[in-house]
Amino acid sequence: MSIKTAAFAAAVSVVAVTAAQADIKMAFIDPLSGPFGPSGEAAYTSFILEAEKINAAGGVNGEMIEVTGYDNKINPKESLVQFQKAIDDGARYIFQGNGSSVAAALIEAVNKHNKRNPGDEVVFFNYAAVTPAFTNEACSFYHFRFDAHVDMKMAAITDYIKGQEGIKKVYLIGQDYVFGQAVAAAAESMIKEKRPDIEIVGNELHPLGKVKDFTPYIQKIISSGADAVITGNWGADMQLLMKAAAESGSDIPYLTFYGGSKGAVAALADGAIDRLYQVTEAITNLETSDEQNALVEEYKERFPDYDYYYHRAFNAMRMFKAAAEKAGSVDPIPVAKALEGLTIDEAYGGQVTMRAEDHQAQQNLYISTVAKVGDGVTYGVDNVDYGWKLVEGGSIDAASAEQPTTCEMERPE
């Protein structure tokens, strides 16, 4: 019998105890089973831990937070069913991140719900669905995004490529849905602009979460003669891609959005060093306070299957708290209004600002690669002795990462 989720569930039951006096109900709607289950669980545990911390410190305006998980199996329709259920359970704040396909459906559902049920509004906190449209043409007052979107991350990656003279041929591989398509489009246009000499030797989209053996794809990449691969893959699609890459023994570098997905580093092991790159809003091996390091260690101790990865989940909870305190209320609309333009300090020396025009968080971004623990790396990931280390010149401040928006937001009175 598996005992792998022991600590995870222990934490859930702790929260369940506090649930009795919970005043602020938050629904976490994401995959908690299937190929993307680990991605959902890693984030869910982050929200739970931060909720516990906030509650222990006296709550938000004296009110306690409860985060409840709803398994949407990464299906948009199932998400809407769970969304209804969450509203019925009293949740007025929704967290979701895995899958822009789901996020698009949820944004629409939230807008419709708020239109049809005035006075009973719901706010959507998006912590990872990064299709640019959500804070551009499809922006909504009720949607806030705490993660940098595709264009912001791709700008960071292509800026990095600009300095790499050795890269002449790039291969793009991604998941076949709105997010993967956005990554491919952004990569194509930005590479053309920044390094017109680079040839894009492949642009492949594979089905989301269905490929179990990436070997044929890796062999295509190898025979294309690519010098680097750019991918937005995440969850099992990232891990299995890396598993096949490791088997093939090739040494092509992978520039990724989500190299930090569970199991990717472990799959490559030694082969990940200076081969696997990711762009994130934080890495645990940056210089920080003792308090933050203690949090990273506590997370690992409580949830040994996962690593402290979703820094933005912690930021989102803290911004919610700050906004609620600023508004003097925990109701959705006052909190949403207070969130606009709000700035908080985050643990790795930067600041996160929720841009008022489009509800897109502006924060520092870091490009990192894998190194052995001890080699400038304190915290390993995936329970192996490898962790993420900032690359030279890989630090992008919030101002440089910022991208324009086309959002024309309608705000409630």
Binding site: E204, H206, K220, I222
Partner: protein
């Protein structure tokens, strides 16, 4: 050139794996008329059993014990489940195995959790066998190839060279006659069901670690195995073998080709930005087996080598 070599290698291995899965199903289907919906669930059980046994002892032990365990489970299912619903006809049998597939998946979820388990390749085989065109070929895949060929030879020997094999062959086409000759047909059925399930279990043991061992692996594999059986033809192991290799190659070749419909059908003036022109051959890979199935059922219902119509 390299595309062809890679697709050939991967296609043959995948095809042999499919044959390992479908040989049991073909035997069961031809002999008992039961299309075992839960066949791929036994494949999944093989992988999970191997994962557990490997955790406690070693992969090599799991390689032998897990298929035997799966075979025993299969025999029990036949004896106490299938035989009972047999009286209610083939549709009831089909429904029973359908429910069984459901049940096995849920039990696996409860016992092993809803996400994938970390079933690893044994470290003894975790090295590259050889390198072609800059890509190394893992030794474990060669090992899969050998196991599959070994199984092929073993099965051939069992069916063609032993007395038991002759009876099974006879029961494949003329079960009633075999019964009249005084053989214990229910026992033969149970044995064949058990062996079929054990073969599926073996496929699970060697494939679970190269793919993913999770509760969805049965649902993913099940329909493709059906395709093999139907395309191959009823009562024909040779047909199942051909169909397995054909589908293995078809899927792997398709994934290797990036050309889009607009490239292939340029003479029709299809625009590369149109929805149909934009479809690439590689994205067709998951559709091909089912297309083959439907075409086969319409135009040649007895399959590649089948002797009777389905």
């Amino acid at each position: 050139m390299e595309t062809i070599v890679f697709a050939l290698l991967n296609g043959v291995i995948y095809g042999l794996l499919l044959f390992m899965l479908s040989s049991g199903l073909t035997l069961i289907f031809s002999m008992m008329g039961v299309l075992n919906f839960a066949h791929a669930s036994f494949y999944m059980l093989g992988a999970y059993f191997a994962y557990t046994i490997m955790g406690a002892t070693s992969f090599w032990l799991a390689l032998f014990i897990a298929p035997i365990l799966v075979g025993l489970v299969g025999a029990v299912v036949e004896r106490y489940g299938l035989r009972k619903v047999h009286a209610n006809g083939h549709v009831a049998e089909l429904l029973f195995t359908f429910g069984l597939a459901y049940l096995i998946e849920e039990i696996v979820k409860i016992v092993y959790g809803k996400t994938a388990v970390d079933y690893k390749i044994p470290s003894l085989l975790d090295f590259p066998a050889f390198t072609i065109y800059g890509a190394s070929f893992p030794a474990y895949r060669m090992f899969m190839l050998f196991i599959a060929i070994g199984m092929l030879v073993g099965l051939w020997f069992l069916l063609k060279k032993t007395r038991a094999g002759l009876i099974i062959q006879a029961a494949l086409t003329h079960p009633h006659m075999v019964g009249h000759l005084g053989h214990n047909v229910p026992l033969i059925f149970m044995t064949v069901f058990g062996i079929g399930c054990a073969l599926a279990g073996l496929a699970g043991v060697i494939a679970g670690n190269i793919f993913v061992t999770d509760p969805a692996m049965a649902v993913l594999m099940g329909p493709i195995v059906f395709v093999v059986v139907v395309v191959g033809g009823i009562g024909s192991l040779e047909g199942a073998f051909l169909a397995s290799i054909l589908i293995g190659l078809l899927q792997n070749f398709a994934v290797g080709i990036s050309a889009s419909f607009a490239d292939i059908f340029w003479f029709t003036g299809l625009s590369p930005t149109s929805e149909i022109g934009d479809i690439t051959v590689s994205s067709l890979a998951p559709v091909l087996p089912f297309l083959l199935l439907v075409l086969m059922l319409i135009f040649r219902p007895r399959g590649l080598m089948g002797e009777q119509e389905l």
